[in-house]
Symmetry: C2
Subunit: 443 residues, 2 copies
């Protein structure tokens, strides 16, 4: 993980936020390549959702009415149990004591150190709260949403009418959520501010189990199609006692992170819990009424993932080091669709005016269709290594021969094979290359 974090910072994918002020526990800023990579992931997710006729998009507000969180159960139940140590004044998660260290005796967990004096556990709600409007009274308290899903449920009736759909159909959303985690950490793996991609799929109650299985398979295939190796993915079904209060079935699509198998995406069968709760709490009937008068509260299947976890999984799965000749190189073997830059255009000798102008021309041509880079900043080997580290699948190099026969070399990031190609053919070649199925060459 340290190498991923270091590469990420060195190349500007993501780095600790507010760094010049000493940072702000576990929030991150994304640099240029991080923004591009994230956007490619979000685009691929929207494509998978909206290429279907049965899913529509929504974008609900982060600040919602406080009664939303009362109805959803978050106000009462979305909390971690905490204990304080009266001796060292530290605070720990009561359910994770065994993994924690007593600051006075790091070989032992809190409660077993020399002077440990732990309080009883108290619940600590994970929602950030704030005050809306000029008056600071209880009525104007609002919460930063801890999940985007509730914004979908409270708009169910609205969307049902507008979209003229009937179950099975889904509502998809991408947006920020916030959780005041007590023990954030592991790079972007557990952060207080994160971006979710959630889809709520509303189905007739007797089809819930079928669609639950269906979405587990669909989402797993999505990751495989984006280049994650099948050996690093698995599905793990939650035990009954592990499941959230609303769930009648949850499976994690897990990824083998450097810290072990961990949740990448969750697929939950939320049953009719949310629609029933909001119906009760708001007085608005959130149900489906068919043309023949049949009516029911749909059940909900929810695939939900944070972009941060995909981001880390993509970097981990792509990261590779190898010795080529006498040199070591670090390379990100990203799926070309996810790679922030699709191709680099490089003049072999930047000072050579002929090479430089030909490279410029090719770059201007390609950039109309794809995110490409032009780099004339020094030795060619260094420039290749930089592109390898940001995961650019192909580099087109303009050299002496280009000036004679109008061909360039194309270098493949993974195989390091170099071929020659007519300049005129490069745009079509790149289009075709980007459409080819891709599999990770990592074992």
């Amino acid at each position: 993980m340290d190498r991923i974090v270091s590469l990420s910072k060195r190349r500007g994918f993501a780095f600790p936020s507010s760094e010049i002020y000493g940072g702000l526990g576990s929030t991150y800023d994304y640099g240029h390549y991080g923004v591009l990579l994230k956007q490619n992931v979000i685009d691929a997710w929207w494509d998978a959702m909206l290429e279907r006729d049965d899913i529509v998009a929504l974008d609900s507000a982060i600040l919602q009415h406080p009664r939303v969180w009362e109805a959803s159960g978050h106000l009462a139940g979305f909390s971690d149990p905490l204990v304080d140590c009266r001796a060292c004044q530290r605070r720990f998660r009561a359910d994770h004591l065994e993994q924690a260290q007593c600051p006075h005796k790091p070989s032992r967990p809190p409660g077993q150190g020399p002077d440990c004096d732990l309080t009883a556990a108290r619940d600590f709600n994970l929602m950030f709260s704030t005050t809306v409007g000029p008056v600071q009274d209880a009525g104007s308290t609002a919460y930063l949403r801890p999940e985007t899903a509730q914004g979908i449920f409270i708009n169910f009736k609205n969307v049902l009418q507008l979209a003229r759909r009937k179950p099975p159909f889904g509502i998809a959303q991408v947006g920020k959520s916030f959780r005041n985690e007590i023990t954030p950490g592991n790079f972007l793996f557990r952060v207080r501010e994160f971006e979710q991609m959630e889809m709520e799929y509303f189905v007739p109650p007797d089809e819930a189990e079928k669609w639950y299985r269906y979405w587990i398979d669909e989402r797993l295939s999505w990751y495989v199609n984006l280049g994650l190796r099948e050996s690093t993915l698995r599905v793990r079904e939650h035990e009954e006692e592990e499941r959230s209060h609303y769930s009648s079935g949850t499976s994690d699509i897990e990824y083998l992170y450097p810290i072990g198998w961990q949740e990448l995406e969750g697929v939950a069968n939320r049953g009719d819990f949310d629609l029933t709760q909001h119906t009760r709490s708001s007085g608005t009937k959130l149900e489906f009424v068919g043309q023949e008068g049949e009516r029911y509260t749909p059940h909900v299947i929810e695939p939900a993932v944070s972009i941060e976890r995909i981001f880390v999984a993509m970097l981990c799965d792509a990261y590779d080091e190898e010795v080529v000749g006498e040199r070591e190189r670090t390379v990100l073997r990203l799926h070309p669709l996810i790679a922030p830059v699709k191709a680099a255009v490089l003049p072999l000798i930047p000072r050579d005016e002929g090479m430089s102008s030909r490279a410029r021309e090719l770059y201007e041509l390609l950039r109309k269709r794809h995110t490409v880079e032009h780099d004339d900043s020094g030795q060619i080997g260094r420039r290749y290594r930089r592109q390898d580290e940001i995961g650019t699948p192909w580099a087109f190099t303009v050299d002496e021969q280009t000036l004679e026969d109008e061909t360039v070399t194309v270098r493949d990031r993974d195989s390091l094979a170099q071929d020659r190609l007519a300049i005129a053919d490069v745009p079509a070649w790149l289009d075709t290359a980007l459409e080819r199925p891709w599999r990770s060459p990592k074992a």
Copy 2:
């Protein structure tokens, strides 16, 4: 404005948030077409920024270190003056009293009603605050950012190194910001939660004025190219006393909203205010050092706009009503690049199996490249009107003749002209149509 709000709700562009719970003052949720329209605007903005070699992307966190806001001046100065009325317990903006109404005597402003008893004005900070981490003490107070810009300034050094750029160069960002407005309102025009598109352009101090003028022109052209009529746009330079504390020159690109000329986008010359403040406050030198050892603090030109204001301007500029034959129609004359749906495919008689299957085929073909809709939901006139209201530029209709000669009609949203076209030519026809320059037919 009422008609825009009504269309927006009826067709699911945007509607009040948390509506089943009575709403939450001035926050909005975006429905399917709203999400698509917003995304088209964001994509067009990113294209304009990243098609340049001198601008890179950033995505900084919403929660930043509290000292960021101390240094930026927001903690001390980002406030509105408020007065309370002891008689009616209401609160008003002291600087907008003349536009407000005394609740007891609505023809008079507060302070001139029968029992008015106003307090002296007190400053009310517009930043939302919250508490990070498990302990609620002063040290862990954090603010929801009121602008994305500061996230760019505090990363200046970082990005300068990573991007290997020198002034003039820019850092662009899109993301949510929050302001606890006392008097939000006018649909999406003044909301508490909004999405900004900001670009900070760092320049040598003696070039600041030149680039300030340059970016006013660039941004104005961007709106014209996206179809806003030149007659509804103007540039207004701020008077000295109007300008923010950091600004040495600000111009608003104003749009003629139904409520009058109002700021659409601001272009500010922020000078070296922000980099100097953060250098002083953090101890990290935020300056440019050239290869020959020259060093200076760059000045900053900032074009900044919220997507909400563009969203409203686009809807207002596109909205049109006209009488066609004996019928009235409402039509959104959006630029095709901004229109949420590019084309509709309609079988004239949905029950006819031949028409239905040909329409399906054409739809499946087009959706691979563009956002298109297939609609077989009833009378053709109603389907056209629905597409007019969401601004779909073209409709392809499969009719009896299609089954004979493999042609379809193409209907133009603006002119209502109908032509016939071979089905096989439709994909290329649509590609070409989308690339044609477009100007609003509205007077």
